[in-house]
Symmetry: C2
Subunit: 247 residues, 2 copies
């Protein structure tokens, strides 16, 4: 079958191939996965803490996030998810969800039953490794965010976050000419960076004033990648991408 007849599967495949050489057979098996499509509105919970999901969810369109709440009600966004990501791959081996997953913008989701994933992993140890690796990259991103929130001040923190998004969106073709849609409110940025919305607003103004970002509605342009990475102390090693530099 030609590529393109299975756009949903191919999104996942191209992400996995970022790091793993997959055989034709493996790719074919991936394309045979049943995917149940679903659309959700913005700000909908997709997985809730305590859930025991029986399927994984592939993000096909839109932005989503993983978050946790403190008992006092404060929210920390742990990572952002973009098309191609599988936000709760972890549910394959952690039966009880310790996180919440929510849409940020309207999203298109594809659900894949755990059962099918297990079957696939049994047949293709190489795919097990590829999925395992995906969860390891997720963990690496959590660590970098921890570094970001724990050790950098607001200005760098936001710059870093934007750098990461740029590279990741670029890797799935959703950023062109250092420009992309970022349908994330300042309140959400605040929850992602461990700051208040008010402070995020001021930091964004500073970044704009310094010419590090240009924003028009939800569209972001990065006029000087070099300067932004310096401000964010950004080193992409933790993303474990191929050598896909941003010019």
């Amino acid at each position: 079958m030609p590529i393109g007849h299975y756009p949903h599967h191919d999104l996942m495949i191209s992400k996995l191939e970022n790091s793993f050489r997959l055989s034709t057979e493996e790719k074919q098996a991936l394309r045979e996965l049943p995917i149940q499509l679903d659309d959700v509105k913005a700000n909908q919970d997709i997985v809730k803490m305590g859930d025991q999901p029986s399927r994984c969810c592939l993000l096909l369109e839109g932005f989503a996030c993983v978050y946790k709440l403190t008992p006092a009600g404060k929210r920390q966004i742990m990572t952002l998810h973009i098309p191609g990501d599988i936000p709760d791959l972890q549910s394959l081996h952690l039966k009880v969800a310790d996180i919440n997953i929510a849409s940020i913008s309207p999203c298109k989701l594809g659900y894949i039953p755990h059962k099918e994933m297990y079957r696939l992993c049994e047949r293709f140890p190489n795919l097990t490794a590829a999925f395992w690796r995906e969860t390891l990259v997720d963990a690496s991103i959590f660590r970098e965010w921890l570094l970001n929130v724990g050790q950098r001040e607001g200005y760098s923190r936001i710059a870093h976050l934007i750098c990461e998004l740029t590279l990741r969106l670029n890797a799935v073709g959703l950023a062109k000419d250092n420009t992309f849609r970022m349908p994330i409110s300042q309140a959400e940025l605040a929850d992602a960076s461990g700051m208040t919305p008010v402070h995020v607003n001021r930091v964004l103004q500073a970044l704009r004033a310094d010419g590090l970002i240009i924003s028009d509605k939800k569209q972001i342009t990065i006029p000087d990648w070099q300067k932004l990475t310096e401000a964010g102390e950004f080193d992409p090693i933790y993303l474990h991408l191929d050598e896909k530099a941003v010019s």
Copy 2:
């Protein structure tokens, strides 16, 4: 072979069994893993960012940590490791280390070649799942630390960190009567909590004054578990332990 003849292997096995029922055959295979012992002094790097390790390292005695540095030289400790942990299981599938691993106290390590781990995983898919799950629990701890650092103030942050250590040490028999050794300096606590050593010192004094912890040298006693968990807003779900409550 009776349990106890392989104390190093059995430490790992009992940790894995926390969550997975292992067959006799699987346990035997684990015991047959070659483990190369090594002793390291306190504050030694075990793995460095950029390394491409060819073996995993099992922590047999002592405390270790995973940390990252910002280019500006600030250090964030991402997690603490205690005996039974395998700090760099991730190196099985992430070829280039994106973290540093260091001893905190003098440590005894056991190195296991990747080659042997791959062989084991090939033979026993169930062990693959068990190891994969370990890395997922590590990721869950990163997330909780991110929540901790991003959303809680100093007092709760330190309380939370102590709660986590108590439960984890308890799970491997290193805490008795809510008392355990914690050979961690205030500077290290600071790096783990995203605070300055000065502030950590003041928070510890407050925790002592409030009767939440009693500390004698490097020994910690928790006189009132209930109160400490409240102060730290601590919910152990993220550790994915068996129901091993602390009284």
